[in-house]
Amino acid sequence: MNPLFSDRMRNRNLLRLAGMILVSLGLLLVSGCSQAQKAHQIIIAGSTSVQPFAEILAEEYMKMHPDISIDIQGGGSSSGIKAALSGTAAIGMSSRDLKGDELSLWSAEIARDGLAIIVHPDNTVNELTSAQVQDIYIKAVDNWAQLGGQDGNIHLFTREEGSGTRDAFVSLAMDNADVTPKAMVQDSNGAVRQLVGDDPGAIGYISLGLVNEQVKPVVLDGVAASHANIINGSYKLSRPFLFVSNGDPVGIAKDFIDFVLSEEGRQILTREGLVTRDAEVQS
């Protein structure tokens, strides 16, 4: 009998294979569990609009402080404020002003976010009023000729349900009126910018910091979408990004907020497309 093909031999090979699989499964398990518990951890929760920026800031911060872990969760402004009130989160993130009871919280404006309404660079319409923007987005107006432009259908772009940018647009520009369901939906600022830049009949809205030469931001109610006009408060489509906490922040939370409000933190936020100024701290 050829020993190479003996049953014993085959079994041994099979066993070896099975053993290897088991060992690798075991290794996977072990590596999954062995993520060491970090000594210092805080939770930040709230607005999904602020979340991506907070994540970038936390990443930078954790690079400098490897022993600290910052856990950032979404949930929306209201739940973030609640989490800060109840102490579930050390810091709450809000993308709207505080109101009522919430005003008792400590808060710091880390930056302002501006929205730009954008059209194709070849579009002859340069300026719109708030009322016109609302008419466009409820589809009361559907041709550029009705707005002083060239004849052609208006192709509407909006963001997906749940997006912070969409929430901001609906509350700041639409006075909470619903965007027409006929509007085309994209799931990122970049996609909206790309598609508006490709289509001479398109209109959309994106974060001001992400406007580039592919698209043209329109002048709204006679006010240009600019850094200066957001700081001086004359441009309508802008909202605050707040960090809130129950009482003055202490420990890691304080250190992290100090970092965010420092020159370095502000540079990061500006680089990512937000508008910053010397932060106002109120208690």
Partner: protein, 283 residues
Amino acid sequence: MKRLLDRLPGFIFLLIALSALSALALIIVFIFYEGIPIIAKVGLGQFTLGMSWAPGKGEFGILPMIIGTVSVTLGAAVLGVPVAILTSIFLTEFAPAAVSRIVRPAIQLLAGIPSVVYGFWGLTFIVPYIRLWIGGPGLSVLAGSVILAIMILPTVISITEVSLLALPRTYKEGSLAIGATQWQTVWSVQLPAAKSGIMAAVILGIGRAVGETMAVIMVLGNAVALPESLLDPARTLTTNIGIEMGYASGDHQQALFATGIVLLVIVMSLNSIAQATLKRSQR
């Protein structure tokens, strides 16, 4: 002892096979666990036949997306199936060996292109041409249908080919012997004989089209309104999940899982119908 050693490998492999099955079970249980509560809350009729999808306002009607899925898929079938069937006839009956040696692997290569590449190609190539030559915003049911038609080709072609090749040679020989031309033989003898196999191929192709997500998100426009023409944007069940999962929470998230349940039911029924027709064709 030797006996035990003999049976051990079989046992281990059984365990591994079961782990694949349990992954399926886990997924199904999880989707139902997450999705059923919202269906119970909204009502199955209101969920599947509701016309309005506005999670922010608690409206969860997915009929526009069911219709979106059906229209994009039908469009893909109308465009893709004739091409696929004629291609398989060409490959099995008419193509010289040298030609089919190139065509066959080339078609299988279509199956290997990642769907995001299809989507990107559709967005930069098909969408602008639809906008320029036919009208509308370009992102449309038509664009989705064209992309899906190409994506289902490999599935439909290979299964149709297999069922044509599985026919007894005597059918063809008998038909040719009584004086039918090659085309008459294909059209009146072979195609009818392979009918159920071809049906199964088409249904599997449709199943593939129903489940496709990434490519469709990019070219469909994703509007939640009911499409009124081929040039209108639309949203399918898959893209509803894909585009909104980012920030969804609570009821909204459950509604996306519920969308998954509807999708799962559709795809599983399509697959069982295909299996049943295939079985009938083999008898």
